[in-house]
Symmetry: C2
Subunit: 281 residues, 2 copies
């Protein structure tokens, strides 16, 4: 009997990080591959970063490096706000930022508004270490359009965290001044907003424009940065707008259990290299 | 006459960053592809990062992001050493770190020892913004085995910078204590050594072992980090050993022309996230 030579398959997830750059990760299992009304949702198990959620082809979150992002999104504003009790999270349906927000004992309620209920459900089903906080009694999870929700909110929140996808399609408005104006109105008098504002290498215009748009609304606007391996270039910026307090000065120690954030990292993350400062001029 | 449909070719350089992860960059031109006695040397023009040198399949340096690495390799030790006049660079045949070293006016002579003369020549030919310093009158460039050179050097240098490739094959010894012992002997009394020590995500053992090996030789050993987009994970560590002075405290302002390094970045880069501190325990 003739035997065919054995063949080996390899499954790789390849993200086009820019038209000229791709990151590929070896996939051991495809867990979910569905189309929601808003985006393609793909969940895979990778050798390098554990489980990973990809939305419309862009890597959103991985089990192994999300702490870098989730902690920096949550703790900078929450540690420099004088008394954060009510927190709004725009997007972030995976639950990673929410988990970090709820480490702060002062937080009475965290409202998470993600347009896509299927992202929330996928995270609950496949990313338990990231999504557990979605079931917390202090979490109020609403699957709806955050832009609609925020227009109706007045002076309700101490901190708003904009955990959006890249600024394209339904998320594009989340990087523009009308949205920041609505956020401003939804915040109480000492309110702060934080947004993820992409890479100073691969998204120079986003970094610049988000800073400018937020500066047209908030009196205090500062940029900080951190490492984030699975995002393009691995260097990620965050922009924080404040009605009053200085967001670069932590007022209390880091909550327990952080792996990236400390009060010293907080202060250090506001030190920008000259090439980033030049982007903001 | 029958016409064939037009076909499009795409040329991509793909680096295997780990067995489970690959970074790919679109290539517009292959400039050089040779085998030296030590390694494969590949030089390509990429859309994302400009010209790029790849040694044995590992991306070494690109025109667009090398400043992050070259500046952090050079300026931390040179700014915290009390009076750096004589500098040794091990490896670094591209000339990027040398260019940064020579920004310091106190430096009288910088000796660069790269085992592979063909790397030096390739950089001179194709990477002018990186290699220009190789022709500087204060530069003493020797194509030879640094391990041999250093064994013979006694109390000659103020600062040694180990700009090595990954710790495999002929470069493996550059991460071990016998080499650090030779470096210690080659340094004057206030001497400092800096080494690139890889990523805390993809090279956890290297980070840990390099720190331990250097600590067995130098009384003061500190780790610092920075962003480096084209290296695996984009988060890069550097380990500095000192006979005396505190390397985390800059003694003078940054030299002119830096795009990543400032005195504030110097101090901030020594603030390690808890997950990196845990690696060093």
């Amino acid at each position: 009997m003739e035997t065919r030579p054995k063949r080996f398959n390899e499954l790789w997830l390849t993200e086009e990080q820019s038209p000229d750059m791709k990151l590929s990760l070896r996939v051991s299992e495809v867990l979910l591959n569905v189309k929601s009304p808003y985006q393609d949702i793909l969940l895979v198990e990778t050798g390098e970063y554990g489980r990973m959620m990809i939305l419309d082809g862009a890597i959103q979150i991985t089990e192994r490096d999300e702490f870098c992002y989730s902690e920096m999104m949550a703790h900078v504003a929450l540690s420099s706000h004088p008394d954060p009790r009510r927190v709004l999270i725009v997007g972030g349906g995976d639950g990673g930022v929410l988990r970090e927000v709820l480490r702060h004992k002062s937080v009475e309620k965290a409202t998470l508004i993600d347009i896509d209920e299927e992202v929330i459900n996928a995270s609950k089903r496949f990313l338990p270490t990231i999504s557990a906080a979605l079931e917390d009694p202090r979490a109020d999870v609403k699957p709806m359009d955050a832009m609609v929700y925020i227009k109706a909110a007045k002076e309700e929140f101490d901190v708003a965290i904009v955990d959006s996808t890249d600024p394209v399609e339904f998320a594009a408005g989340l990087f523009e001044s009308p949205f920041y104006r609505d956020i401003h109105n939804a915040l109480k008098k000492d309110g702060m907003v934080v947004a993820q504002t992409e890479s100073p290498f691969t998204d120079r215009n986003v970094v610049r424009d988000a800073f400018r748009e937020m500066s047209s609304v908030f009196p205090v606007v500062r940029m900080y940065w951190g490492a984030m391996p699975t995002y393009p270039s691995g260097m990620w910026t965050y922009t924080v707008g404040s009605k009053n307090a200085d967001p670069s000065a932590p007022l209390r120690p880091a909550p327990e259990g952080t792996r990236y954030y400390t009060s010293d990292i907080h202060r250090a993350s506001f030190v920008l290299p000259p090439f980033v400062i030049d982007l903001l001029k």
